[in-house]
């Protein structure tokens, strides 16, 4: 059995990774260190995804392993180790559209990449987007939509953010189904992303800048 947790998770060896996490915890290794390793592994997974070595099922499997490791170490983890976040991202599927698979994946990847993500669900009305943006004060808002009916909902949501003066402080990214550069221009978003890693890259650029 290999004993490098980072490598085992990055290579998607679920059983071996979970067994090693348990063993390490029993051996008295700091649970924060175990979780840190798991997150480093997710960075490798993300990089492999970007160079098309990994695909969505690999991200999903890596996510399951990370969840498993977290469940093992969380009870032993001290509160202060739960850590500072890079920035705030508000995300939701726009009004009329109930699809969530893509949105959930983006939420998950942003979360493991260190962002404080607030996922406000599916079929989110313009009013709720505005209210939650005011309340949560994110640097980035992500609008998700799978169907063509989402184009107009995105447009209306962005218009409402403009009218309430919230737009200036925000970067807005869109993604899902039929979304491309034409749609981005139509709804006046700052960028569109074709997958979950693109969302992470955008947020990293924007929040740093």
């Amino acid at each position: 059995m290999r004993n490098d947790l980072v490598e085992l998770i990055a290579d998607l060896k679920e059983q071996e990774a979970l067994a090693l996490a348990r063993k390490s915890l029993d051996a008295g290794i700091d649970p924060a260190k175990i979780l840190e390793d798991a997150k480093s592994a997710m960075e490798i997974v993300g990089k492999r995804f970007e160079i098309c070595e990994y695909f969505i099922p690999d991200l999903t499997m890596a996510g399951e392993i990370l969840k498993g490791v977290s469940e093992i170490v969380k009870p032993s983890l001290k509160e202060e180790n739960k850590g500072g976040k890079k920035g705030k991202v508000l995300i939701g599927t726009v009004a009329g559209d109930i699809h969530d698979i893509g949105k959930d994946m983006v939420t998950f990847m942003l979360d493991v990449s260190g962002f404080d993500v607030l996922d406000i669900g599916i079929d989110v009305s313009v009013e709720v987007f505005v209210a939650k943006t005011k309340e949560f004060e994110p640097q980035v808002v992500g609008l998700s939509g799978f169907l063509t009916l989402a184009f107009d909902s995105m447009k209306k949501t962005i218009e409402a953010l403009e009218q309430t003066g919230l737009r200036e402080r925000l970067r807005i990214m869109i993604g899902g189904g039929q979304i491309d550069e034409d749609v981005r221009r139509y709804v006046r978003a700052d960028a569109y992303g074709k997958d979950a890693m693109a969302a992470v890259t955008l947020c990293k650029q924007w929040v740093r800048g």
């Binding site: 099922p57 063509t148 034409d182 749609v183």
Partner: protein, 416 residues
């Protein structure tokens, strides 16, 4: 031009048949999936046409006769669903009045309706699993069926007969049977309208695009039973049993298609492709889990004289060399966002290709944008036949002027 409807019917059928057989037709055929566009075009809500078969007829007929596609898609079996879904309390869709607003299209609700530890039950006896476990989960009105005992145990006077029928006397089973009877009446209504619509369209000179519907075994298992996440994890956690389940679905998917195709007398079988796209699995996973049973399904259909018509949703550019392995001139591959230049290059001698006019342009662009895109498609893909014009996916929210531009331009510029 011959205005006789029978002659128009023959010409349209031949135009599409020629394209599929990789012969050069008189012009590039055009056929689309209108989705719920007809309701909007006729000033109705989605809810109205989902519940009122006469309104459905009126709206669909208006679009058919005004746009005159080379082939029509029968709207009844895929859109006149309100009454039957309500009777069954169907859980896999949200539709107007049931989770979405009156003017929105119905939407799919995914779930894990077969748990990972239920593969064995499914493999032992798929119909038993469906009736006693799957149906009670996806049809609220059939929940009582979970009380039944397995039909396979009711064999003779001393095996099954004495006690096997007892559950049929339980109130919840009686309720389920009553709901099934009502669903039966709704099915008859769908079938009757569907038959009459096909006959009326034929009378007016329009063949139907498809006579049957089926899916890749992997998609059926993933879409309706295991869910996207469930089936993705199965590729790692239980690859052997996943493959067995796909193989179990293969004859079921074949039977579904061949029965409907024979009943309708139409060889074209629609196969939407959901989980085999680029990004949704690696090329190795595609070759291992997805393609073998899909290919076998399509080849079996071809051997029975059918034309498999998969709609490769999303982008499938990296799969082109793999999916090329199919008997030549028998199938038609519709593509949503696949690179069409590459598709033509790789598939030119094997498969007719279709589609790809982006919905983003049809919804947000201008007629000029549409014409420019269609010109590019006809120039590249239409060269020497083997191409059918179509949008990338259903037209639901497209602008009328843009759809019109796509039709007019194809009829004009697409002449060989």
């Amino acid at each position: 031009m011959n205005n006789d409807a029978a002659e128009m019917y023959r010409q349209r059928e031949k135009r599409v048949e020629d394209a599929i057989a990789l012969r050069v037709p008189d012009r590039v055929p055009i056929e689309v999936l209108f989705g719920f566009f007809p309701a909007k075009y006729a000033g109705m809500t989605v809810e109205e046409v989902m519940y009122d078969p006469e309104r459905m007829w009126e709206s669909q007929w208006k679009v058919l006769t005004e746009f005159e596609p080379d082939m029509e898609q029968n709207p009844y079996a895929v859109r006149f669903l309100g009454p039957i879904l309500e009777t069954l309390d169907f859980k896999l869709l949200k539709w107007p009045g049931h989770g979405v607003a009156a003017d929105l299209t119905y939407q799919f609700v995914e779930g894990e309706y077969m748990k990972a530890d239920e593969y064995d039950h499914f493999l032992l006896d798929p119909s038993d699993f469906m009736v006693r476990t799957y149906w009670p989960r996806v049809f609220g009105a059939l929940k009582g069926l979970e009380k039944l005992s397995p039909a396979r145990g009711i064999i003779t006077y001393y095996m099954g007969v004495p006690f096997g029928f007892a559950p049929f006397n339980l109130p919840e089973v009686v309720d389920a049977l009553e709901a099934m009877k009502k669903a039966g009446q709704e099915s008859m209504r769908i079938a009757s309208y569907s038959r009459r619509y096909a006959a009326a369209a034929k009378e007016a000179g329009f063949p139907m695009q498809f006579g049957a519907f089926t899916q890749a075994p992997f998609d059926t298992l993933g879409d309706f039973f295991r869910g996207t996440k469930g089936i993705m994890l199965d590729m790692y956690r239980r690859p052997e049993i996943l493959t067995k389940a796909c193989e179990k679905f293969l004859p079921i998917m074949f039977e579904t298609a061949i029965n409907a195709s024979k009943a309708s007398g139409n060889p074209r079988v629609f196969i939407p492709i959901h989980k085999g796209l680029d990004g949704f699995m690696s090329p190795e996973q595609f070759k291992k889990f997805y393609w073998p049973t899909l290919r076998e399904l399509m080849v079996a259909l071809i051997n029975e004289g059918c034309n498999p018509c998969p709609l490769w949703e999303g982008n499938c550019t990296s799969r082109l060399e793999i999916i090329k392995d199919i008997p030549a001139g028998k199938a038609c591959y519709a593509f949503e966002a696949t690179n069409m230049v590459k598709a033509k290059e790789i598939l030119r001698d094997t498969v007719c290709i279709r589609g790809n006019v982006p919905l983003s342009i049809l919804v947000t662009g201008t007629p000029d944008d549409v014409r420019a895109y269609c010109k590019k498609l006809i120039d590249v893909c239409g060269k020497d036949g083997g191409y059918v014009m179509d949008s990338s996916t259903g037209l639901d929210d497209a602008k009328t002027a843009n759809i019109k531009a796509m039709f007019d331009f194809t009829r004009e510029y697409g002449v060989y």
